[in-house]
Structures are given as structure tokens and as C-alpha cells.
């Protein structure tokens, strides 16, 4: 049986259906998870999708972080379940303190929407093992608040522990250390601002560089069984 990958829908999520579709194309069984749900419905991995949960009111991800389903996501993440936060999902992971730091408004205030070049810095995570280290990839980026910030100690720890997973090749938003994505200590929780779920089909995307995200997690789940 194919592994089940859940995608959480918050009020204001936009890319949940694209994420579900990408999961299906990747060869797993997509499972829709509701923000108010009290269960993860037996999924093997979770994706927090992009969008503007709760209208980005207060701060991006700040209200979604307290959704009932998040309690279960946080618990499962602590037990090693693969969790991927994309864009707004990355912001939710930071607000939930599953990942350190925060995402603030882009340096030049503009909403950025473009095909973004990235370098894969770490293949030692459940979502990036199918990439080659230092591989250069192109993934869609689209956000207004994608500038990664953290204090000096946190940045040093991330760099020292090899937890910067993706770096921008031409930093579009002023993110510190060109950081586009990071992971937790164990490497099962990954957050990034670009949108791999948009880069899985040649009909609608200029690259297929999103596919290895799903291949990676499927490899990990297959090895676990």
C-alpha cells in the first residue's frame, strides 16, 4: 500500500490542492486534513501548505499555529514523522517553534513571484535525500513575507549543525545567510519558502525540481517499514 501523506487545510490555505496533487503524482496516497481535526487520520507524513492562513492577520502563521490539528502535528514531529512546511507552512512551523527563527516582510516590501534558483545545502533530511548535495535547482517562489531572520546564536547553530537545507543563489528578499529553507535537529521537519508542489509536472512548470521532495520522503517511509 502506498504511504499516506496528509495536507492540512487551514482557513485561507491556497496551495493545499496543489500539494495533494503533487503527493499523488509523487506516488503516495494524498489525505486531506482539516485544521479543526483532532486526528492525523493515520498519515505517515504531513505537509503544511502555502497560502494566507487566517488572512495573515497578526503575523503570518501565528493563528494557524494554534489550530487543533497542530497539537497532533507537533507531537508527531517530535516522534520523528516527516513534516514539510511550504511558504505559509514554513511560517506556521516557525511560529510553532518546530523550527527556529521567523519570516518577516521582504526587504524591499514587494511581493515576489518568480522562478527561484536555489542550492541544496543538505541532503540529510527526510525531504531532500533524493537530491545531490550542492545541486542547483529552480523552484517557484511567491510571497510578501519571506525574509528569514534569526538571532546570531541561532544562525551559528543552524550553520554549524548543517541545518540550512536550501540557500538562494540570488537572494531575493534579504534573508539572512541567503537562507531559503531549514530543518530541525533530527532532519524530519523541513520548512522552505519556495513551492516544490508547483514543480512536479512539465505542463505547468519550467522545472521538475519539486519531484525529489516526494521521492525523498517515499524513500524514507519505505525504509522505515
Amino acid at each position: 500500500m502506498a504511504p499516506k501523506i496528509g495536507v492540512v487545510t487551514f482557513p485561507g490555505s491556497l496551495d493545499d490542492h496543489d500539494a495533494l496533487r503533487a503527493v499523488r503524482i509523487g506516488g503516495a496516497e494524498p489525505v486531506s486534513l482539516w485544521h479543526g481535526s483532532d486526528s492525523l487520520n493515520g498519515v505517515d507524513a504531513v505537509i503544511l501548505p502555502g497560502g494566507f492562513s487566517y488572512g495573515d492577520y497578526l503575523r503570518c502563521g501565528a493563528i494557524a499555529r494554534f489550530a487543533p490539528v497542530m497539537e497532533h502535528v507537533i507531537q508527531a514531529a517530535g516522534q520523528g514523522m516527516p513534516v514539510l512546511g511550504i511558504c505559509n507552512g514554513f511560517q506556521v512551523l516557525c511560529e510553532a517553534h518546530l523550527l527556529p527563527g521567523a519570516l518577516i516582510r521582504n526587504e524591499r516590501q514587494a511581493f515576489i513571484c518568480r522562478d527561484q534558483r536555489l542550492r541544496v545545502e543538505s541532503v540529510d533530511t527526510t525531504w531532500t535525500s533524493a537530491f545531490a548535495k550542492d545541486q542547483e535547482i529552480t523552484i517557484v517562489l511567491k510571497n510578501g513575507e519571506g525574509r528569514y531572520v534569526a538571532d546570531v546564536d541561532t544562525l551559528a547553530r543552524l550553520e554549524g549543525e548543517g541545518r540550512v537545507v536550501f540557500r538562494y543563489l540570488d537572494n531575493p528578499n534579504g534573508s539572512l545567510n541567503d537562507i531559503a529553507g531549514i530543518c530541525n535537529e533530527r532532519g524530519n521537519v523541513v520548512g522552505l519558502m519556495p513551492h516544490p508542489e508547483h514543480n512536479v509536472e512539465s505542463l505547468t512548470s519550467p522545472s521538475l525540481d519539486g519531484q525529489p521532495f516526494f521521492a525523498s520522503v517515499l524513500d524514507f517511509l519505505a525504509a522505515k517499514v
Partner: protein, 81 residues
């Protein structure tokens, strides 16, 4: 009803793009020498009396939800009307 005000500001070391944009606009309007940092003000209507325990509770709420202490500082005070 009593009112408690929670002020939230970006930490000094965090670049504040909104404040920077406002600062730039003030300069263009001819207001010289004014530097702005932009934060948020929350007005919290409190049912009943604002006791010390209540203030502790509101401070806790501010730390948990209203501010993200990774990037922001906050201040809680009773609003004297």
C-alpha cells in the same frame, strides 16, 4: 470595563521594512530628521477588575500570541482613561 494596552515593536536589531518605507515617505514630504519604527497596539477590554493576577495572565497571552519574541518585544500596561 477596564482596558489594558499591549504595545508590540520589532526588536531593534530586526530590520523594519514598514518603518523604513514610512521614514522615506516622511522625508519626501519634507519632514526632516524623523525616523520611524512601526509596531502594533492591541487594546484589550478586560471584564472585571484588572488585578495583578489578571495582568500576569495578559502578559502570558501577549507572549504566547500577540508578540513573537523571536523578532518582537512587547509592553503591557493599564490604560488610564
Amino acid at each position: 470595563m477596564a482596558r489594558v494596552v499591549v504595545d508590540v515593536m520589532p526588536k531593534p536589531e530586526i530590520l523594519d521594512p514598514q518603518g523604513k518605507a514610512v521614514t522615506g515617505a516622511l522625508g519626501r514630504l519634507g519632514y526632516e530628521g524623523l525616523t520611524v519604527r512601526q509596531g502594533k497596539r492591541f487594546e484589550v477590554e478586560v471584564a472585571g477588575e484588572v488585578t495583578d493576577e489578571r495582568l500576569v495572565e495578559i502578559r502570558d497571552a501577549a507572549e504566547k500570541l500577540l508578540a513573537n519574541t523571536v523578532i518582537e518585544t512587547f509592553d503591557v500596561r493599564i490604560d488610564e482613561v
